[in-house]
Amino acid sequence: MSGADANGGPLAGLRVLELADEKGQFCGKLLGDLGADVVKIEPPGDEPCRHVGPFLDDRPHPERSLSFWYYNTSKRGITLNLTTADGRALFRRLAAGADVILETFRPGYLASLGLGYEALRADNPALVMCALTPFGQTGPWRDYLSADLLHMAAGGLMASCGYDDADVPNAPPIAPGGGNAWHMGGHYAYMGIMAALVYRSVSGQGQYVDTSIHEACALTTESAVANYVYRGEVLRRQTGRHHAAAPTPPTQFPAKDGKYVTALISGGLNPRNVKALAEFLDVYGMAEDLRDPKYQDPKVIAANTAHIIDGVLRRFIASLPAEEVYHAAQERGFTWGAVRAPEDLLDDAHLADRGFWKQVEHPELGRSFTYPGEAAIFNGSPWRISRRAPLIGEHNDEIYYGELGLSRAELGVLAENGVI
């Protein structure tokens, strides 16, 4: 546990042991990409996240899961079977030298193996141990099973997403995709771990961080809880925009190329921004009657909201490609965005200017691939992917032989006995 390295990331020098499935691998990635030495401990032969697609060239294989590749950058990987006495003994040795342990087992599992926080802190009082579980370590739902969809439901996120009845009659609440329940859990686990590390940096003392994915999701719905607590309102789902107690004007419009544009008029329609909108649309000859001085009267604006938004604005956006509308509007100070598919981001010049896309080598394939880079730029200690995700047991030799001092003969016996 050495001091920080000035040329590495902000967490350089930190040793993390990760025993995590889909619930925690993203948090481990954040720690690793920010410079920590993250050692991912997988059960020999069967880490389920390696069986989730998409796969390289659509050929399923535990070393070709693109989901696993993405969520496990910057980590080294070892195999270890905690159900064996030898495995538990090795883990205790690793834990004694770790700064952080991140685990996503069901509550009580590690303790039942004699590997809970109370046992491990005896050899390592400065240890920060984070358990990231669906519902936390205690409570009536403690042992419940989860999935990304379940968290989006119970956390309140689905209840706010969907369609106007006019667009899709009787639509269900919609859970946004992308595995974001795991992202929300990972963000708060990261926050809890860093808070514990800050405290440790001044006190020398470690602690246990019990993080709940359900609570992380339940917190991430902006003003929905406040709307209820302060006004008792039921918010209703609307197409491509905020939930609301009463229907609001649309903000998502189809462009000429079939893509959509999110066009918000900040602060609502008023004489100033109607004038600005008119001037913008006039450049394209699409202002229609918006330049009429009558629109300097807020009452006239209020009476013509549907005409302005669902008429003039809608027709303007339909006349141009989405990206052109987006950039033209932003250059004039309108807070608008093209609704892109993820692949569109590869053509985004702004991201290219920032060096956002990174080449990550996969030497065993003889290829490099383009990965998304850092979520923020640390100007003094770079946030960056240091290596691709580990192969199964890739660093067994480096860690068991190189660091713990086991002989190769001992490693052979452990492998034959299913310990590693």
Binding site: L66, Y163, G179, A195, L219, Y228, T239, T262, Q330
Partner: protein, 441 residues
């Protein structure tokens, strides 16, 4: 003896406004840092307009419920930063602080003479986190965002919806809250690095850029396999796969069925539950929970492939059963049998009906002078040695001006009063609240 806080002794100069920035500093405050929120009554868009003032209460700068929940654990200093006196006070404040956070458009702070180089000249190890829309570098650095715009521009909106329909998008600013989390994560990381090395830095965090990595697997499917997600069956609504479309992974986990939302009794607006079966064993448990109906014993549902192929029929049949149960009863019954199921919860459900959130004390009342006592949201983690908790309701605007200007920075009472008269601490032409008059003595 009171337990220590993780960020005891840490002081944050908080220029942030509206939601993303304040959401970041809320967590730093819950962890024990002193948050000095710099506000100005003429442009506090987090306070006004307000759509969360209780019915029957006057709408003013101190009665926004959402502002209250977003800004617990902070102190309010009203200050006109764009005057020489105001700027001098900020500089003295930075000199005794550890972190500076702001979420203006790029370069605003620099225009005020408070860019990173300036901040560093005052306090060499300052941790400066800028939380702009698009970042401080790159040709679009001056673009502006709200959550929905960052979500649109980053690909997140595209992940939400039914195939063949316009995007459903996110019904709130997911990236305001998530951007806020990244702001807190960056501040804590920068603080840790400072403690270990003595070095501060400027951390350039932005809402739009932070959104993009949340599309990781979809992005790799494109850069590695050449497959984009503008395709039939994407996004697949609440399913892992939309029947009748190419069988591809849709970036939310394993491709399985059942995986959907189902109506529950009595069929009101939020009477829905979700069910997911990852294995044949979980499917058989669901069949048992449904009472072994004849339809479920058909061979075509016994395999993962079969359930995916016949998903419409599968879902229609499951819903005939789910409609007979309330969503919480369905959840209990399924989970007791080892089946993944959860209710679709509204905000009211979370606050009033969720037994797990109640057990974990997720919502605790805090008393506020204007709003009264209302439930505020607590942290989603329990730290064993340094618990995070809300220690104060949001501040009334300007409430701590005297405490900070006189108590912390050492100005005199005469200085304070002069600053109220000359527009440094309050617009000269704007009426003052009674508590401000009292503060001035």
């Amino acid at each position: 003896m009171a337990q220590p806080r993780a960020l005891d002794g840490i002081r944050v100069v908080d220029f942030s406004w509206v939601r993303a920035g304040p959401w970041a500093t809320r967590w730093l405050g819950a962890l024990g840092a002193e948050i000095i929120k710099i506000e100005w009554p003429d442009n506090e868009r987090g306070r006004l307009p307000s759509s969360t003032t209780p019915q029957g209460m006057e709408v003013n700068l101190n009665t926004s419920g959402n502002f209250n929940d977003t800004n617990v654990n902070k102190k309010s200093l009203t200050l006109n930063v764009r005057t020489p006196k105001g700027l001098e006070i900020v500089r003295r404040l930075v000199g005794v602080s550890d972190i500076v956070i702001e979420n203006f458009s790029s370069r605003v702070l620099r225009k005020w003479g408070l860019g990173y180089e300036e901040l560093r000249s005052i306090k060499p190890d300052i941790v400066y986190v800028s939380m702009s829309g698009y970042g401080h570098t790159g040709r679009n650095h001056h673009y502006t965002t709200f959550g929905p715009v960052a979500q649109a521009a980053s690909g997140l909106t595209h992940l939400s919806g039914l195939p063949g329909q316009p995007p459903a998008g996110w019904g709130w600013s997911y990236m305001d809250d998530t951007g806020g989390m990244y702001g807190a994560m960056c501040a804590l990381t920068g603080l840790y690095y400072r403690n270990m090395t003595g070095q501060g830095q400027h951390i350039d965090q932005s809402q739009m850029v932070s959104s993009v990595p949340l599309n990781g697997p979809a992005l790799l499917d494109f850069t590695v396999n050449g497959r984009g997600s503008r395709r039939a069956g994407f996004p697949p609504g609440n399913r892992a796969h939309w029947p009748g479309t190419p069988l591809l992974n849709n970036y939310r986990g394993p491709t399985v069925a059942p995986h959907n939302a189902y109506r529950t009794h009595p069929g009101d607006y939020n009477d829905w539950a979700v069910i997911v079966c990852h294995t044949d064993g979980e499917w058989r448990a669901l069949v048992g929970a449904m009472g072994e109906p004849d339809w479920a014993r058909a061979e075509k549902f016994a395999t993962a492939g079969g359930r995916l192929e016949h998903q419409e029929e599968l879902d229609a049949n499951i819903e005939r059963w789910s409609m007979t149960l309330g969503k919480y009863e369905l959840t209990e019954r399924c989970q007791a049998a080892g089946i993944r199921a959860m209710p679709v919860q509204s905000a009211e459900d979370r606050v009033e009906h969720d037994p797990q959130l109640r057990h974990r004390e997720m919502y605790s009342p805090l008393a506020h002078p204007a709003l009264g006592a209302h439930k505020a949201q607590n942290a989603p983690f329990k730290l064993s040695a340094t618990p995070a908790f809300n220690h104060a309701a949001s501040p009334m605007i300007g409430e701590h001006t005297r405490e900070i200007v006189e108590g912390l920075l050492g100005y005199s009472s005469a200085d304070l009063r002069a600053g109220f008269e000359d527009g440094t601490f309050w617009p000269a032409t704007r009426a003052r609240f009674a508590y401000l008059e009292e503060m001035l003595g």
